[in-house]
Symmetry: C2
């Protein structure tokens, strides 16, 4: 391991062979010494799941013979990967953990369902600066070229400035060419939610089952939100905290008769 080079842990939730993480590894190799610990299969929608009632496999793999990073493929969730990396695989605490690049949005309320962001939050709880990156393109063939320079810039700034304690970054990219992207905006999470429309079907044996489908509803018109930034051609950067306490309502609830 070279001296002075930052040690960067890379993970994701789409699985270790997804184009998004391969792009992220490529960019991180320009910045530091890279160790990849990522799920062996897609983990979308896993939120902050951890594996408590099952065993975990974690095997060293070579996916790209000519690249400098070391890589481990793990049977668990993104949060499991970060726990395994920091407590079992890495010899020292990484200087940074990056997760993604997710195929699809993790803006607004999607942050709570996001395996990509759960990895970043998991790192954050151990005091490791962390960033989750997502591109608003669900396709497996999504084009990550236009955003590589932005990923590098944000990562370098994060390494240089550090992150306040208890905070990680949620970065989302619009699906645009590099020229069309207007810049980067630091935002708040838009106050939006999903309305589900379950698709009800019958199995060949006659048992009813459902597919979860939904509609994203954003009634938050704020120009300081991630949704506004993305719709208007900007990269959104939301600082995310994992102290979930609604400090501002403690007084209210203290007035209850309990």
């Amino acid at each position: 391991m070279e001296k002075d080079k930052p040690l960067i842990l890379v993970t994701n939730d789409d699985g270790i062979t997804a184009p998004g993480i391969r792009t992220l590894i490529e960019v991180m190799n320009e910045i530091g010494t890279v160790c990849v610990v990522a799920p062996d299969s897609p983990q979308s929608g896993m939120g902050h799941a951890i594996t408590v009632n099952d065993t975990l496999y974690c095997d060293k793999v070579i996916i790209d013979k000519n690249a400098p990073q070391t890589e481990y493929s793990c049977s668990g969730t993104p949060a499991d990967c970060v726990k395994l990396a920091t407590n079992e695989i890495l010899k020292r605490k990484p200087d940074l953990c990056v997760s993604g690049i997710n195929h699809g949005s993790n803006s607004s309320i999607n942050v709570i369902y996001s395996g990509t962001m759960s990895a970043a939050v998991e790192a954050g709880t151990s005091g490791i600066p962390a960033i989750g990156f997502s591109l608003l393109d669900y396709s497996l063939n999504a084009n990550f070229e236009p955003i590589k320079a932005f990923v590098k810039k944000i990562t370098l700034e994060c390494l240089q400035n550090g992150l306040p304690k208890g905070v990680v970054l949620n970065v989302n990219f619009p699906k645009l060419s590099e020229k069309e992207i207007k810049g980067i905006k630091v935002c708040r999470q838009a106050n939006a939610h999903w309305i589900e429309n379950f698709d009800k079907r019958k199995s060949p044996l006659g048992r009813e089952y459902y597919w979860l489908t939904g509609e994203f509803v954003n009634e938050d018109k704020g120009e300081d939100t991630d949704e506004w930034a993305l719709k208007n051609g900007y990269v959104s950067v939301v600082p995310v905290q994992f102290d979930l306490t609604a400090h501002h309502v403690i007084k209210d609830i203290n007035s209850w008769d309990i």
Copy 2:
């Protein structure tokens, strides 16, 4: 459905037959019209996972012949259960969603791993007042009797006062007799984290695998925290928000050169 009685959705993450949810149903039947939509198997550590790449089963079941509630057993996660209940099963928006009573703590940072709390948060994102209840006793034979009166009291206060928008409650109970419980404290989430110790083993075929085990480390000595309350014989009530934006650091990050 009786008029004027609140409609209460009950779910959990330990599975529909767990003693904790059976106790919660019993208490809720004293308060309102109860509909249960809960996982068919334990979902501990599932965080805010949702089922996006698989089908969901959700079948009407009768677990307690003489009880008034309707019940559905679902193959998904706690968050799936709430989505199915509110968008497919219930004819109107419930007045309250309660989740639990979890067998084990969801205090402090455990809130981010908690299936119990993810159900409450999921309800909250749809504007439904919601409470997650947890008892600090992992045992399947945990004694829920001492906390029933507290569960009822907190639920009634919540129905009467409502909850501020964007906020749900995380309620944890110490493992004490009713007499020993000193009262209820509205708290902030303690700033604690886990240090993992992976238990490395070899399968009969010689492949290495891990069990996740960990040590809970709380360096937050604040007397306004949930950990302090629980250690000192109080029920902890933490208001939890799902706007994860770290609003206080937006200005800092805006000073970066990005």
